[in-house]
Amino acid sequence: MADDVVFLGAVLALVAIGLYCASQRSMIRILLGIEMILNAGNFALVYFASSRAALGYVDPLGQSLAFMSIILGGSVIAVGLALIVNTYKHFKTLDVEKLRRLKW
């Protein structure tokens, strides 16, 4: 039980740090923030997979889900990076504060 609290506390701390990063002005930092929240989820999955003592072994289900989510997260980040490259090419800025043409 004490382990649960420590690990879930770490997961929530990662989520909080990620959300903080995602609210920054730099596009790159925003992507890093997203990656951090994603890894909080993966961390929780891996922890729960290994903490199921009743099985006597590490549950492959949680691990395979974590692998799959790492791949999917990578694809999302790739799309984000492509958008960032495009933004920089056309508008010479990576500051989201300047991306304020669309209002309401």
């Binding site: 997961v11 989520v15 990620g18 959300l19 995602a22 596009m27 925003i30 997203i34 929240i37 994603l38 909080a40 989820g41 993966n42 929780a44 999955l45 922890y47 729960f48 997979a49 903490s51 199921r52 549950d59 289900l61 949680g62 395979s64 889900l65 799959m68 989510s69 999917l72 997260g73 694809s75 999302v76 799309v79 984000g80 958008l83 960032i84 495009n86 933004t87 056309h90 508008f91 989201v96 991306l99 043409r101 669309l102 309401w104």
Partner: protein, 492 residues
Amino acid sequence: MAANILFMFSPFAVVLFGLLSERFKIAKLREVVAVLLSAFTLYSVWLIYTAVNASPTKVLIFSMGGAPPLGASFEIDMLGVYMAFSSALLGFFATVYSVSYMAHDTRLTEYYTLLSALVSGIIGVAFAGDFFTLFVFWELMGITSYTLVAFRKDRWGPIEAGFKYMVMGAVGSTMLLLGISLIYGMAGTVNFAQISSTLHGSGGSLWLMFSMLIFVVGFGVKSAIVPLHTWLPDAHPEAPSPISAMLSGILIETALYGLTRVLYITFPAADFSLLIAALAVLTMTFANVLAVLQQDIKRMLAYSSIAQMGYMLVGLASGGILGFTGLFLHVFNHSLMKGLAFLSAGSIIEGTGSRDLDKMRGVAKAMPVTSIAMFIALLGLGGVPGTAGFISKYILFGSAIGPGYWWLTVIGVLNSALSMVYYLRAMKTLVGKPSEAISGVKEAPPLMLGVTVAMATLIILFGVWPAPVISYAQSAAAALTNLSNYVRVILP
């Protein structure tokens, strides 16, 4: 039987034929292939529907890597096939419309591949029988839609809207992953049926309530529930019009379907209905007020989509067979109505060259057929009797009275009246005195016209003869509420 889900791989065929048509300069090959494959998708979903309907348990299972509680699986019940049918139908219309609408754009191979992958992703989410499958197709749906919103990448608007949508959507899906991991930690499984038998009614522990909130946030971002809606009024107007139709017509509804399914199988209705009712009131009121202020026609339609999500949440809050019938009937009708509204708005914008309502004053003279289709869509969205929208709104708002949410009915009807303000304003603009700006505007090309006319006909048809759709929606709602049957099929 497994051959029926081959349509999931149609993006690969589209990209293959697209490359062939680029390499050997065969005009229109990829368009023809894309349209044929979207028709094939519709036909396959129809075959799956007949198979589900014929099976004694009304649940079909396709699994990979072991029998359902362990392997990744599609568990297709009437509800899944209902959502799949709506999305395949709208996907077919959007693809046919794109052939003419996107003809002047470049990189069309990518466009059709992504559109076809988007439809596959949505159908995968609807069919998913466990969180693993759901998450994979959820991300497929997300990644394709981020790319399609930012498709016209040489302009400012799509890039900004696409990035905003990407960031919010990615945070939403990471929240979803966190929720999945918590549920997995508590239940030790990701299969819906097994989660339901382990957690449903097990008493609300703190972590269970926490994971429910996380699910509401995770699905709520994609389904644009206020206050998580801020990406939608940017993304929907900036995307190409067929993509706006897909996003507004079916993608946000698929997210709502995910929310409904996950909440309903994991938690007792009493836990979430008040929260959802409060979100419904917030969503529809906020969106309707902001929609009145819009000057851009697609932005107005985007806010109207958020408001319609608020109406659908009423169905989820009131629950029961009536509430879910209303919800899913409105999902289908809204996919036709909002799809038509965006497609005909796309034709008008293509004609007049502007999204500003003032600059399309009097366009009905120049584009009579498109304008009449737009009228039918807007009247349907407003819930005028004789259109499909009336029937589903009637059931939705009526369903809230039974479980004691009469105030939800009152607020819903008032909101529906308020929404007529901006629909009527748009209609008045279209038939107003023509300005010089629209001299020389011609009626849309025949293919675009054909799609809008077909959809308008369906809206009127299901407005005056709603019986088949209602019974279809009822069987979908029954599949959701009959939880014990769903569980028993997978865990005998």
